[in-house]
Each structure stands twice: as C-alpha cells, then as structure tokens.
C-alpha cells in the first residue's frame, strides 16, 4: 500500500464478510485487519506482497476450511501464521535474493508446518539451491502437482531431477540386440519391472519454469534427465501425466516442452525417430549406450557423464571428442574411431574408472603416457585406417597396472612394447597378416612375454615367419624351465601357413619330435594340423 492513511475502527468491529468470504486475494494491500480473525468459509486465500504483515505474526489468522493458500512476500516464513489445517494446495513465492535465507525459510516452513505433508499441489517460485527441494519433497507423499519456477538453476538442479526418476526393481538389463529385436525386448523388460520412486510417488503434473530462460547448454544438459523422469514415471502405478518445461524467457511464444512424449527430440536435436528416444531413455536408466550419431550432440550432458557402458561404432574414421566427458565409464568399445591426443595435463576421468576397453581400428596414441588405474580388460583389434606415428611418443607407455586380460589382435608387430602390464594373466596375441615378422620383432615379443610373470593363459597366433621355431621352444620349454610363468595353466600357439603344406608338415613333425621334451613341463601336450596349413600346439597344466 502506498501513501496509506488508514482510519480507526471501534474495538470489536464486526466484519460480516468473515462469514461469507469464500475467496480472498489481496495484492499489495495491508493485511493487518486479518490478524486474530477467523474466516470460517474461506476456501482460497492469496496474500501477495502484503503490507503491515508484522501483526499477523503476533496474532495469526485462522482459516479452518481453506484448502488453497498462496503467499508471496518477505519474509516467506510469515505464511506459517496463516493457520490452514485443511490446506491441500500451497503457492509460495519469494523475491528474496539472499539464497541462504530463502533456503532456511523454506526448510523452516516445511519443518514447522506439518500440514504441508498433506499437500496435493505445491507451487514454488524462489531463488535458492534446489538442495532444499530434495529435503522437502521427500515428505510430500500425497503431492500430485508440483510447479517450480527457478530463477537460477543451481548445480544441484540436476541432482534434483535425477532423484525424481523412477527405478526398476532389478538392474539386470537385457543385452544388446539388433534394433528391431532390441526395441521389443527392451519394451518387454520394462513392462515386466516394478518401478518405484523414492520421492513424490503420486506426482501427476510437474511444471518447471525458468523466468530468465535456460541457456542452450542447460537445455541440452537437462533434457535427457527430464525425459527419463517422464518416461520412467509412466510405469508407476500412479503415472506422471505431464512434465512441462518452459525453457525460454517466459515470453508469450514460449511454448512448453512436454517430456512425457517424444516431441523434445525435434525441439532439441531436430530429429523425430522414436528409436533415439528409446536409446536416450535406456542410456539414462541403465547407464549403457550404443551410440547413434545424432546423439553425439549430447556429449556434454548428464547422459554421457553418467554412462558406465558405451559402444561407439562408425562407418568411417570419425573424431571422437567425448572422452573428457565420460566421468563414470566402466566399459568403452570404439570401432573406427579417431581419438584426439589430449594434453597429458588434462586428467581424463576415464583413466580412473574404466575397467574394460575395446578399440577396433581406432587410434591408440591418446593412451600413451597415461595410467589406467582400474582397467582390467584391454582389447586392441587392428590398426586405424590412417596409421599412427608412434615414434614421436618414444619412451612413453600405456600403464595398465590392473590389467589381467589383454588382447592384441592384428596390430603393428611391435605395439606391445608400448604397454606396461606386468599383471596380465590372460594374453591373446595375433600378428597382423600383412606385416613381416623379423628377428627384431621376435625379440621384442620374446621380451614382452618374458616379463609377463603372472601369465596363466596364453593364446598366440602367427602366420609363417622367422623365429617361429625359437618361439615355440621358448613357450613350451624355455619359459617353464626357467620359471618365467609360475602360474601358467594353458598355452595355445597357432601357426598359419599361406600356401605351403610342406612347411606346415615340417613344423608339425618338428613339434612332434620335441613332444617328449615338452611333455616334461606340461600335464598334457598336443600338436595338431588342420586344413594342411595350420599347426596348433596346445599345452596345459
């Protein structure tokens, strides 16, 4: 109220309207006349930017049958002096810029007023960390409608969104299949689950506004989480019907995006295929993703940051620039990928989390000079289309202290010299068919094998070439004789001859000739010849 000149009234002034009013809305009006009064018929009460509210804190206002209370003012805690035992809908709005104070006021309001636990509708417009929402909403079990207006989304906004998504009863996801079968199986699996939520189990409407508008990166960052909420909550016994987000600046043409349907795809990615929707949802729910190209635009979003499993397959060599964003990745499979060499000053999060890495026809020099602390399984299959120049990284290695399973298939013949992996227990090694295996290469491999002191299973495959005789002798006799592999359980060596069956026969005869010497170190030892050009030598403990 401006320039107020208020008259006196006699004590005990009778106000008949107290017994007739059903709806009261006061904006920028003085409210002290309500203090100490009871409004027995009032059903809706809105007090916006009140004047002279202090006396309300002293005497309170009784609204015994009011079901909807809206309060917008400072301090927000004044709302607690409106005693509304039947309240089902509450609108709270604060223009206070002191985030800490708003946080405390909101917590206080919900803590002191147990009536709020019966709310079915809650509208909140404020500026403070969304942490308070996470503390508050867990008590609002019957809440069906939540309307949020957030001035500046804080970092905890995404945590809040994550807490709203429903979870399946098990985490045994169906595996990957072809797209058509995958969709079907995924659908069946989702339907078979009992989905549950930890907060707001009866929520039907969720509206989110940001009066200043979400930035483009915020929109991208949020939408996978929003879609996950919309999608997973559809499986609840009390399903979410609408999740509308006004992402613009609140202008008239700012239409809401409803995340209970797939319209968001066109809005954010310019695509409409529902298979991408399923991929996004599955990635958020399971943290697993087999990539589809348009989704790479989401590389910086929570969708990628939370992934634990990622499979990237390209039709041609493609620059993969997402590694710095994979914060929780455990399994990563890349085919035909060109991965940039990041500065070693950049600590890639995946070096701490990655447990399984599979690189097919992809670059590997980005790994040099880094330690992959958790990597247990590493498979490298074939060189990239454009050969890498490892010589400029001379002296650097890929440190794999936890690696127990190593597959080096069809790579450059000396690739293993870039690996530091003394704890490998299982080694599968196969030479590239079009590269010459000379004595230097043999010496290099010999040295590599010699240093794998914890080796248990060895499986190597060569085409014909120099040094094969020596290698076989080392593997089946030299190594066990000198106790190089104390834990060895089995060895398989396969030699492939291109054309000459006579050379294969020669090697076969030679191995048979040494059988007695080899058997001294193994429980079983066998030599076989297949298709006249392949000699297999097996031994086990």
């Amino acid at each position: 109220m401006h320039h107020a000149r208020l008259p006196f009234y006699e004590p005990n002034t009778n106000l008949p309207l107290l017994c007739t009013l059903r709806k009261l809305q006061l904006r920028a009006c003085s409210v002290q006349w309500m203090a100490g009064r009871q409004f027995p018929c009032l059903e809706e009460c809105s007090i916006l930017l009140p004047r002279h509210w202090e006396v309300i804190q002293q005497y309170g206002v009784q609204l015994p049958f009011c079901t909807k209370l809206a309060y917008h003012g400072y301090p927000m805690t004044t709302a607690q002096y409106f005693h509304v035992p039947e309240m089902r809908a509450m609108h709270l709005r604060s223009h206070d810029c002191n985030e800490q104070r708003v946080y405390q006021h909101l917590r206080h309001l919900f803590r002191v007023n147990r009536r709020t636990y019966n709310l079915t509708t809650l509208h909140l417009a404020f500026q403070c960390s969304e942490q308070v929402l996470m503390k508050v909403v867990k008590y609002l079990i019957p809440l069906q409608e939540l309307n949020l207006s957030i001035t500046h989304p804080s970092p905890s906004f995404q945590q809040f969104l994550e807490s709203l998504a429903a979870k399946p009863s098990t985490d045994e996801w169906p595996g990957w299949y072809s797209w058509s079968k995958y969709h079907e199986r995924w659908g069946h699996w989702c339907s078979s689950q009992t989905w549950h939520v930890n907060v707001l189990p009866h929520l039907k409407l969720l509206h989110i506004r940001c009066p200043k508008g979400f930035s483009q990166s915020e929109r991208l960052d949020n939408f996978p989480l929003l879609r996950a909420i919309g999608w997973t909550r559809a499986y609840l016994t009390s399903p979410l019907k609408h999740l509308k987000v006004w992402e613009g600046r609140g202008s008239m043409d700012d239409t809401a995006v409803d995340y209970t349907s797939t319209g968001y795809l066109h809005k954010h990615l310019g695509i409409s295929s529902t298979k991408h929707d399923l991929t996004i949802v599955r990635a958020i729910v399971t943290h697993c993703l087999a990539i589809a190209c348009p989704l790479l635009a989401l590389y910086s979003t929570a969708l990628f940051r939370q992934l634990r499993y990622l499979e990237l397959t390209w039709e041609s060599n493609y620059e993969i620039f997402i590694l710095p964003y994979l914060e929780q990745i455990e399994t990563l499979k890349i085919s035909d990928g060109s991965i940039p060499e990041y500065s070693l000053n950049l600590d890639l999060p995946l070096t701490h989390t990655l447990q399984c890495l599979e690189l097919r026809f992809s670059t590997t020099s980005w790994m040099l000079g880094r330690t992959f602390k958790a990597l247990r399984e590493f498979m490298i299959f074939g060189p990239p289309d454009e050969p890498e120049n490892h010589s400029r990284h001379e002296g650097r290695q890929v440190d794999l202290p936890a690696c127990t399973s190593l597959d080096v298939m069809y790579c450059s013949i000396d690739y293993h010299r870039f690996l530091s992996c003394s704890n490998v227990q299982i080694l599968r090694w196969s030479k590239h068919p079009f590269q010459t295996f000379d004595s230097a290469a043999f010496n290099s491999l010999h040295h590599f094998l010699f240093n794998l002191s914890r080796l248990q299973h060895l499986d190597i495959s060569f085409p014909q070439g120099l040094g094969i005789d020596s290698l076989i002798d080392f593997v089946f006799c030299g190594a066990p004789e000198h106790g190089v592999w104390r834990e060895i359980r089995s060895v398989e060596v396969e030699i492939r001859f291109n054309y000459s069956s006579s050379e294969a026969s020669h090697l076969f005869d030679q191995a048979v000739g040494h059988q007695q010497r080899y058997e001294k170190w193994w429980k079983s030892f066998t030599v076989t010849k297949t298709y006249a050009t392949i000699v297999n030598t097996n031994a086990s403990m």
Binding site: R5, L6, P7, F8, Y9, C29, Q32, W33, R51, H52
Partner: protein
C-alpha cells in the same frame, strides 16, 4: 463489427451481464453513440478487463450503469474503473455484492467498507488501502502512549497512518 456494436448498444437496458475485454479507441468509440444508450437497469454482472483504457466514451458507458441496477458481481481490473465505482454514492450497492475485484492504485482514501459487506464471497484487491481494526488499534495506541509519547513529550497521537 462496428455496426453490430452500435446495434447492441440499443439494448443496454436489457443487459444482465457485461464483459468488456477491450474498448475501441476514442476516435472510433465516439461514433458509437454511447451517450445515447439507455441505462443498464437490470445489469447484474460487470467485468472490465485489465486491458481496457479509460476514455470519455468509456466513461459514458460506465455512467449508464445506474446505482439502482441489481449488481452482484463487479470485476474492475483497471484502476480507473475501480475509481469510478468506489465512490460514496455507490457504497450501498457495493455492500450487497457477492464478488468484488478492484484495483485501488488511483484511490487515495482508505477503503472503509469492509465492515459493511454482508454477502461478499469473492474479494480480490490490488493496492487497496485496507484499514486495521481492533487488534492493531490497541497495538498502535500502546505504541504511541508508551514509546513515542513517553520519549518525546510533545509527540502527539494524531494520525494512525501506517
């Protein structure tokens, strides 16, 4: 449209409910013949939307609402419309309303009618100067006597303005 509006003004005496969402600018409205319209003797509900702007023709239209009309709902969102009806000669009519929506931005006098409403069910007020009643009366009296009066011997309790 203009002709239809003109025709409708010929039957103002039969209107039960009038909602004005917007009003023509004065150069057009002056040709409507609002001045010669009949009093809205049976008007029960009057709703003037926020978007309406004051003009001489609009004022003429409002003047055709007589105090004798059986009004029960007044939704007066623009300040000028509220000012028009929140005048002493309208008070007897206001007291019988069931719905009252007013904007008191241009009203400088306090709104003293609260005790007289006997049927009001919906009351929405924007920037309206509402008085305080007995509880605050004592509070202010106490404040002036013991604090202001006590500290400043010549302070007077002349205005309870808040």
């Amino acid at each position: 449209m203009f002709a239809a509006l003109q025709n409708s003004l010929a039957s103002t005496s039969q209107w039960n409910e009038l909602t004005v969402s917007s009003f023509p600018p004065e150069n057009l409205a002056c040709q409507l013949g609002v001045q010669v319209a009949n009093p809205m003797n049976v008007l029960k509900v009057l709703h003037i939307a926020t978007e309406c702007v004051n003009s001489p023709s609009f004022a003429h239209l409002l003047n055709h609402v007589p105090t004798e009309a059986p009004l029960c709902e007044l939704k007066l969102h623009p300040p000028f419309a509220s000012t028009h009806f929140l005048q002493p000669h309208w008070f007897p009519v206001l007291q019988n309303l069931t719905v009252l929506i007013v904007n008191g931005r241009d009203i400088h006098e306090p709104f003293v009618l609260l005790p007289t409403f006997t049927r009001l069910q919906t009351f929405e007020a924007d920037r309206l100067r509402l008085p305080f009643y007995f509880i605050l009366f004592y509070f202010i009296l106490f404040y002036f006597i013991f604090f202001v009066g006590g500290r400043k011997g010549n302070a007077s309790c002349t205005s309870p303005i808040l």
